[in-house]
Symmetry: C3
Subunit: 341 residues, 3 copies
């Protein structure tokens, strides 16, 4: 990491400086672990106790918390976002001195590579692939024919991108990602399944990050679309012809079934399911392990799932769930009886 | 895509022709997006409105819907399966002119490759592997020793098939699939785990398709078996010694625990769980996010899961689930009290 | 497999021998499938019927079950763990005669490889990687710079290990595993997301096994830690800064969100979710498809989830879950009314 002065960081990131402008900052730390020349942040009031005793050299926090800091501080209305930018600056890596195209990789003669593209070992770049400027394509990556990748992309390792898919600028794809495999299109025919050809593409906008082992299927006829700024965690499955609105974030292990349309700025918790052929409005938030079974027209927070209980207690309540309709009917009948009396 | 006349397509796929037999068909489209020389289909009555205004050149639909079509039509009792076959014909790709075995791949001297096998870059085919005729094995695929793959298989990229597994004819395995990794066999011993060797194989029948990043574990002693015509979507986990009956289809993100036996022609929705050591009859259908906790002996549709609600409302009901047994008991007690009066 | 005499096996694994010490044992079998020269085991009394008719040559069982065995037996207080060790001995493979480092792999000049390390085709071992003695690193594996792997590791195929991660001794990583991809750290900023650099590592203890396609994210500032003896099944997602206590086992498809602390000797069933920023005590057991939403301080078994029902019945009860709070209130009101009378 490089070293900066706190005063310079405050100026660069539009913060109000409190304390010694010459404080040296070279790395980041948590409030609890604080170490020399390290800056931390406080975004959540439940960490006040850690602030009081921190050994960090400086801290980023909200203007109203400045007085609580025992160490020099940078005040910002959004300390977590500010921390993210400071950490990015501090952890900036020197440009790696690797060969541009590793000799063990196979690049089809019709592929077009932009300026400053690095391709690691054992990659395969097929016919008519276009890779923009400043991309880093890690080892063991397979990019099928006709794929386009915008400038400044980072593809980590063991990634597969199927034919004709489009990935926008500044994409980050982590290890094991699969973009554009066939959607799950099968037609019943006399008790057997006929494969429905999957002829659409996956079209991914700019500034999208996709976590390890996440899969996004190609469309059946039209395209599957991931709009700008979408962030997908690991182990997520996105079905064919799904559209995910700009700046939506989805946590790990979730699944979105075919032809679901998800709005902009939504968040979806881990292990959640969105069923197919429905629409979710903008600014909808789904909590973890919930299942969206029909369209949601109003912004807001939605949930399903059942409470964790000690197993003995849960067994008793569990059995009652299967009797709920009967219980409700008995209660109604009963209310009528009483009213009559 | 190639171009066909509608009359020829109708004859080839056993449909009744309505309208101009000379209509040129070169591609497919949705009813909504319809484009020139493209054929669409209507399988679901809720799309009638789109049919009326379609710009498709022709449409595949049920005999009883022919009169509603504003464009030439092919009538078939199963329009979706018929569409699947027409689309497969139209999207048939010319045979790719690639080198049979890419020089960057490593093929063990004891491996046996059939006629017209294509192996992409950076593959590893180990000892005594047998690959049938007309297989396409994509880039970066690892096939361990003793594996057998039937004719006309398609293995996409970044796939691993462990030793001694058997994959039937016309298999399609998408990127990131893992066949035959060790099952989760561990024995408790004084608070630590002893690994139980996984000595069975995975045996996969004919006409099986397996989606991206799906994993099928090898058996512990006997084999894990996927019967003919099974279709698995992405991100599915199949445990050791599972048997999945012929023509069963499982949607994305589901998990089947060890030694579960699933019948023929079943369907399992997304993110569902089938616990281990149980049996499901033929023709059982499990809806999304359900958990099968014991054997199912009768065909039919089965479900669990809770309804999505606005978070405020859900919080109130959620708390009550933990009181259900008590609520039921209070009601029963109450009913007795009243009866006595 | 090699061949042993039952008497020798009993002595080697500290069992009491019953019956002919000269019984030849070359392989293992189930009680049902029993075959010549094969040993089976009985760990669960529900398999008594299979024991009576077994065609196995010998069986491992508890001392109290010896009298029920129709064939020679080895008595041990923990037959399943004993079976695991016998099976490991019988299935021991001869050392593979492959080239130590396959010429198609790329090993950075600064990487340090221990004694007897085998590296398969198409691997990439980056700067300053350290691999201990006796490791087998399968084909198409990517190990980024600064990674350390302890002695006797087995990495199967298509694995990615990101920079600076540490993997202890005797690790087994199955195909498609990803260790150290970025955690899901994003900060909201005016309706868009800012990436939070993920600067910690993944530190994995000794004797850890990780199943196919499982992903373990690197920490945000501090490390993600998997302690000694942890066993992870397939398709699991472990978020950033999680700590999993020693000898905990997690079944397939589960997810653990960021900064969760899981105790020692816990078990977590399949498709379970552990939310972030909470703590689970030692010896906690979570059943399949449950969600842990807050800290658990007492050892024990905990569950959530709803019962599987025929779909018609489930639909009726499902609707009532959304009315539960109202039902409970009606009952309370009602009880008051009655008491007054």
């Amino acid at each position: 990491m490089s070293t900066y002065q706190l005063g310079d960081l405050a100026e660069r990131f539009d913060c109000q400086l409190h304390g010694d402008a010459d404080t040296r900052i070279a790395t980041v730390c948590t409030l609890q672990s604080g170490k020399p020349n390290a800056i931390s942040f406080l975004a959540n009031s439940r960490y006040y106790p850690h602030l009081a005793s921190t050994k960090a050299s400086a801290v980023i926090l909200k203007p109203e918390d400045v007085s609580k800091s025992p160490v020099p501080a940078m005040a910002h209305h959004n300390p977590y976002a500010c921390y993210a930018r400071v950490a990015a600056l501090l952890s900036q890596e020197p440009v790696r001195q690797v060969s541009d195209i590793h000799p063990s990789s196979t690049i089809h003669e019709t592929a077009t590579l932009g300026a400053n593209v690095t391709i690691g070992p054992n990659c395969f770049i097929d016919e008519n692939v276009t890779v923009g400027d400043n991309c880093y394509i890690g080892p063991n990556i397979v990019i099928s024919r006709g794929v386009q990748i915008g400038e400044a992309g980072i593809l980590h390792s063991n990634i597969s991108v199927y034919r004709d898919c489009v990935i926008g600028k500044r994409a980050i794809l982590h290890a094991g990602v699969v973009i554009g495999a066939d959607g799950f299109g099968i037609a019943q025919d006399n008790g057997e399944w006929v494969k429905v050809p999957q002829l659409g593409r996956v079209v991914i906008g700019d500034d999208v990050e996709i976590g390890a082992s996440t899969t996004v299927d190609r469309g059946a006829i039209e395209d599957t679309v991931i709009e700008d700024g979408v962030k997908l965690d690991n182990q997520i499955q996105i079905g064919h012809n799904v559209r995910i609105g700009a700046h939506t974030a989805i946590a790990g292990c979730s699944g979105v079934a075919g032809s679901a349309i998800i709005g902009k700025r939504c968040t979806i918790g881990g292990m959640a399911v969105v069923l197919g052929h429905l629409e979710m409005a903008d600014d909808v938030h789904i909590t973890a392990q919930s299942m969206v079974t029909k369209s949601i027209k109003e912004p807001g927070v939605y949930s399903s799932s059942t409470p964790l209980q000690p197993n003995r207690q849960w067994r008793r309540n569990y059995a009652r769930i299967g009797q709920l309709d009967e219980i409700a009917k008995r209660l109604s009948k009963f209310e009528k009886t009483i009213k009559k009396k």
